[in-house]
Symmetry: C2
Subunit: 324 residues, 2 copies
């Protein structure tokens, strides 16, 4: 069983490109490196029993850890912690206080609780995520992005593979995140990716992120093609991440060079797809969820084929989370 | 709620092409026509309780209807019908007699039973399917293709979308099945599709079917690209179909014209992708499982996008069966 190279303190492009070009030693039909990346995004399934349902208007919108519920008990006028019986045992669930009727009332009340919880929820971004039972359904209220995993809210994002075709070969544009970025500094990333905030369509979000993250003008980015979705669920402590990523492909002109405009990217490299695949299989250099979106790309473009052992299982595992 | 046009006694290309070009009346973001096609392939889920497990070497390989089990009871030396308890109730399962140790012994013994069941299993094809717990796993024995649904065996196939790009538009080559074909005569079909018999890889099967069904030479068909898989489960009477279809795309030269060599196809037409989508949404002209593979094509090529209501649900429904 080959081991992965972990992202130590930091790594440079030269480290990534060395692994990328050195795929000759590996059996290209061995999917085990990809399975490990899926596992990295889907931890703690055995701890689901530690979470209780979070419901709004009778619909389950999230899951909250037993321990985190204790911190919400003091806010009687915002959260109602109800008990019900499930056979012989008593189960709790958390809902919003019945006096909070409109989305705005709920957004403000929950927002104030989050502020007063202080360090319990680090990394506040002042970016609101819509709370629904599933994508496209009515929005019950909006919640600070950094708080979403503490309420087990499904969060949606867009991830775009930007690629180039030349001389019969396909290349992926790969970004390296700025070393000063709050999350996953210095790691490899998609050309363009972002969370889906309240009130913007996927397509508009892709076009906006294309401009900000890679300097891709609308005349090109409007050709970005939706190609499906991946999902994962990851439990760590009080946090229950339930992410759904809408995947996009954008075929770029061969002479296009990306240019980061928001300071979040250190640099870009154009890498043959099989080389990017080697980095995924053999290292932890990519931001974890990017691995899944690139594996999906490898499936759709025939780089992983049915005669590889585990083909169907890995394909299914790309949507191990609630993809709704 | 718009209704679908059902395939009456027969229909001609002129009927299909009229619906195809008449998509202007429909809301292109309305996915309900696609959902109905998924439902057509996934009937009878509520009847799963009427089936018992069929196991070989301790692994579940299929499901057999209670009523069909009665027909197997007389064959003591081939099938063992064992009882076990599940809480308060007694459940049966069917396995092979312990004297049948090798794949060949099992294949022959079960084959003889199927012959002696006569009209109970119609449409014998003399084509063997491998029996495994999941794709790529050891083969326990082989079973006549027509008998697979009576044993609830997973059956695997390859389906290929052949397409052409010209003047910035994408077109699908669509086949119309021969009126004399045993199954689904006269219905619309993929350019190339076939069951996956014992002992042949997906890729070799695609190349073989390309030659036989559409006259595509290996020099072109070797460019066929694996792009994923779809699955469905369909219960009707004693039959429990569990199909997994490996999906392929093949981009064909703009001037290529298919030529059927095995007499199974009446004729071919090259149709703009949005027109093919209209036929799927509004009629039952396609052989049912082809709808799912073309819907998967529509997803991967951006013809269905995340801002359509039901995007994620339909995407998930393309693998409603056990895709393993």
């Amino acid at each position: 069983m080959p081991q992965d190279i972990t992202a130590a303190e930091s790594f440079g492009w030269e480290d990534a490109l060395r692994v990328a070009a050195d795929g000759g030693r590996a059996d290209q039909s061995d999917l085990s490196g990809y399975f490990r990346k899926v596992d990295t995004c889907n931890r703690g399934m055995e701890k689901r029993g530690e979470f209780v349902e979070f419901t709004v208007e009778g619909q389950v919108v999230g899951y909250i850890h037993n321990g985190f519920v204790e911190h919400l008990r003091d806010f009687h006028d915002v959260f109602t912690i109800a008990s019900g019986s499930n056979g012989s045992s008593t189960v709790e669930h958390v809902t919003l206080h019945s006096s909070l009727r409109t989305p705005d009332e709920r957004t403000n009340a929950v927002g104030n609780v989050i502020k007063s919880l202080g360090d319990l929820i680090p990394g506040i971004r002042n970016e609101l995520y819509p709370i629904t039972s599933s994508y496209g359904m009515p929005v019950y209220f909006s919640l600070e992005r950094a708080a979403a995993p503490y309420f087990g809210i499904k969060a949606y994002g867009v991830h775009m593979n930007g690629y180039v075709e030349k001389e019969g070969q396909r290349f992926l544009w790969i970004a390296k995140r700025s070393d000063t970025k709050q999350t996953f500094p210095g790691m490899l990333d998609h050309l363009v990716a972002g969370g889906l905030p309240y009130g913007i369509s996927c397509e508009e979000n892709v076009i906006k992120e294309c401009e900000e993250e890679a300097g891709i003008p609308r005349s090109i980015s409007s050709n970005a093609t939706s190609v499906g979705a991946i999902s994962y669920m990851d439990i760590e402590g009080f946090r229950y991440k339930r992410d759904v990523l809408f995947c996009y492909d954008l075929k770029l002109p061969a002479d296009f060079v990306p240019n980061n405009e928001d300071g979040e990217v250190d640099s870009f490299r154009l890498i043959p797809v099989p080389h990017a695949a080697n980095i995924i299989r053999r290292t932890h250099f990519f931001k974890p969820n990017c691995n899944l979106v690139i594996i999906d790309f490898l499936y759709r473009h025939g780089y992983i084929n049915p005669d590889c052992h585990g083909y169907l299982k890995l394909l299914q595992n790309l949507r191990r989370g609630d993809c709704s």
